[in-house]
Symmetry: C2
Subunit: 388 residues, 2 copies
Amino acid sequence: MAERSLAFPAGEYARRIAALQSEMALHGCDALLLTAQADIFYATGFLTRFWESPARPWFVVVPAHGDPIAVIPSIGQDLMARSWISDIRTWDAPDPIDDGVGLLSEVLCETVPGTGCIGVPMGLETSLRMPLGDYARVTGRIAPRRFIDATEVVHRVREVKSEAEIDRIRTICAIADAAFDKVPDIVREGPALDRVFRQFQMALLAEGADWVSYTAGGAGQGGYGDVISPAAPVALREGDILMLDTGAVKDGYFCDFDRNFAIGTPSDDARHGHAVLHHATEAALAQLRPGMRACDAHRILSTAIAGQGAIPGGGRLGHGLGVTLTEWPSFTTKDLSVLREGMVLTLEPAVVLAPGRIMVHEENIVLRADGPELLSRRAPAELPVIAL
Amino acid sequence: MAERSLAFPAGEYARRIAALQSEMALHGCDALLLTAQADIFYATGFLTRFWESPARPWFVVVPAHGDPIAVIPSIGQDLMARSWISDIRTWDAPDPIDDGVGLLSEVLCETVPGTGCIGVPMGLETSLRMPLGDYARVTGRIAPRRFIDATEVVHRVREVKSEAEIDRIRTICAIADAAFDKVPDIVREGPALDRVFRQFQMALLAEGADWVSYTAGGAGQGGYGDVISPAAPVALREGDILMLDTGAVKDGYFCDFDRNFAIGTPSDDARHGHAVLHHATEAALAQLRPGMRACDAHRILSTAIAGQGAIPGGGRLGHGLGVTLTEWPSFTTKDLSVLREGMVLTLEPAVVLAPGRIMVHEENIVLRADGPELLSRRAPAELPVIAL
């Protein structure tokens, strides 16, 4: 299985590490410690679903100069050795006495001068994937070296996608497009919502997804109450609006978009809601440019919704996308992040149809110098109808 | 979708919270802060795949007495309100200025006396799912209250499964059994390994899995090199040993077992390896009892393997199972955890067939007073052969 684990040509990884090291220099980091699945995949190409097991921590240390060092459980030795990483240190995990603390501390001391700083992502949308107690132990062992926040280091690099990455996301978007095309048939064959969710996941796999990390949705008369529920074994019925949302994965890259369907003839409100969302998305597709801020994207979408006499949904109206289902920035009023050329983003306007009834519309784009390029196939302007 | 989110009758949750509170008292915790998907699902029944998005932290505070308090992003309000939890505090996340820090600190101060201790799991197999920077901010805000390690509190309660939980795991094991039955047909229809992985996931969904959080496997001449790789687009061939491993999910509960198949006539070594693993598992099924330790399970399995002149694989030879793919304890020489009645465990002996060639066998059991009860259907004694 050797050819699969090296996700991109080595030049792509050399570029990424150089970019991380350049940001590290700007932020005073003498090394960078990565513990999260997405960050480690980004730096090394190490792709496995084994992260689903919380039993073992995994570490990658990016030094100020030179190639990363993988400090990992021995169960991952074989797979990591097929990546571009050559310096791999392993221990037999899980070990209740020392679960990599000694080995990681050694590597950090070897890599970083006596009073140096080691960057660790500590900010919004990050978490440290190792036991907190072990982090404290490593902190003690490496002193006077110390850990500092490196959220910006990782975010500024990962947020701009290479053409090779954009191609990956385009591929999984096309897979999801093809699966969404099958939804009317799936619903007509048996409208129990849990069955529809299962069949939709099977359609994603049949179209070529490696796996389906996320499916959610909603269904309810004239709209739905929430967008994160698993499916219940209840039948869809005339008047329902069905929404399916997916984060399917191909070669480690995610899509994240949804589609709405009317079950039988939709109400005027539902039809209007869909038109409003479609129009708001058109406004963002026309107006969004590099140099704007995340809050500008929120303003464009919510203004377009309000301009049609509708109420924008709360929460964010879009976000980044790539090696995780959602990435920074967030299209909210508070997020001042600058939108950059090469960012892959979702446009996710939501409208309130009635108290507790919303509709959400989502597309995936890459931001080019002259505006957005769609990666998902544009949703139809009119709400599609599935006759039962 | 109301009926689905309340995973168990409220009595099951009352029992769990009482058990946590009893352990909290033993460990000097005036409250318990949960941030991990599995812990929050366990305490509340809150089930969503939305955890796949790293954008937002989620908190549940278990006080010394009384019901838990959910401190969550408003996007989860609707779903959490359908659980048994009634005290739900929300904020609009992600918020770059205060992403729940103020609200969580308030709840902790309200729940815990001035110099009290708040338990947080910090040990083996845990991680804190919130930004490290925000954890430091909360630590400052709640002083002189302080965080202490509560790994034992959570582990001692979650590790013993109720009959309702065991039923859930039995159900998903039966779904995986039925999907494994389809593997010979899947392979004969087209032996490219990536296609086999996709079709196997589709079979799991078709048999009733809600989703498939984990599939991995291996394939190689006379054995495989590792067990955590995704699949490459290479065709299986005569002489290969194919192993498929899955953690599929139904109602939030996992199975975790594998099956081996010979592609064409297996070598004597491969056939013998499978027989050795089958025999070792029989030894564990016969001998394992509550009161033994995790290291005893390792000893039983590795002694049975070595007793047949074979070399046991490195790493752990089994582990806990439940609301995550793998749970403590680990069947290693170093894990002294006591095996308790009601623990759901995997028996996962591995044998080294040649340098870099292993075979792994796995079953799921619940430990009863008089020994293991199988939850997966027992693998055949002889290595199954798939003729291409």
